[in-house]
Subunit: 203 residues, 2 copies
Amino acid sequence: MPRDGRRNRERILDAAESLIIDGGYSATSLDAIIAAAGTSKGAFFHHFGSKAELADALVERYADADVGQLRAALASVGEQADAGARLLAFLDWFIAGADELMGEQSSCLYIAVLVERELVGAGTAQPVRRAVMEWRGAVADLVRRADAERGERGAVALSADDLADHLFVTFEGAFLLARATGDASHMRRQLATLRALVAAWLA
Amino acid sequence: MPRDGRRNRERILDAAESLIIDGGYSATSLDAIIAAAGTSKGAFFHHFGSKAELADALVERYADADVGQLRAALASVGEQADAGARLLAFLDWFIAGADELMGEQSSCLYIAVLVERELVGAGTAQPVRRAVMEWRGAVADLVRRADAERGERGAVALSADDLADHLFVTFEGAFLLARATGDASHMRRQLATLRALVAAWLA
């Protein structure tokens, strides 16, 4: 255990993440997670005190990766001089990755946590809120710069914070639309729809 | 039972809907539903063969009410001559009702069903898919008429079906954003953001 304990912990987190994203939190039993991770109950409880503790670690890890995606997208558009072009290139980065994302996961861990008020009340959704705030801050900054640049063109006023949040809304809503229709291409298409609307707003 | 059997069935559905929207499907026990409905196990099984059968009836009823909202919104804007104004007035109808909606329910039954793949696989999400198709058909028609009317103005092309789906995406994503942040006003603000983007697209 000491030598590959860390690897075992990651394997449990990986198995749990996949099962919970697919089937929901309460619908996924600890036994199913332990079986999918190819480990034992003893090994599980060596790493996590309870299923709830596993959930906390899972959401923490997922939110970190989510904020990592935000930073990667920001870094990829850092060199664009034009603020409007930078905002659109930022959205393009997610459109380009949408099909791969949907090949890797059938939904979003955030949804599985947020749908259960008891988990939210216990603080398990705290990293989701933190990630939402990080995204809002960074994307609203892109929006504000693009808005300042366009000056008096266009008459439609928008809250930069709300438009920034609309990216989170589009991601989460598109995961659900894909699940409802069985068509994973909705993620790419919904992000492209948001991009087209933002382009119209900037024009 | 015969005389107010129907009322008892509705009471069970109401209690279950509220508990499941709040806490999730698998996280809500049958005992909790029976207690909240103020009924007995015997009365429950008089109306529903199982919890899964209750879920089917619940989603069916919820989707019917959802399509009813679509029809009410369409009826309210039927008299607008200008197709672009009609599309915007259609969105205004939902913005005007957003705070009341969030006062009545903390999330959406669709999310509680879609998050559990086993329920989706068993066909419980079938009415969700049907509702999505009804919304898509009606909203895409509004979008197409508005798009035809604007003629060559504006250079940004959009899929009418995808923009129609974006209303579903905005509703579901905003429910999750409200849950993540604890701020119910996000529903109104996200719908208003979509409305502003559509207005910019039409301008």
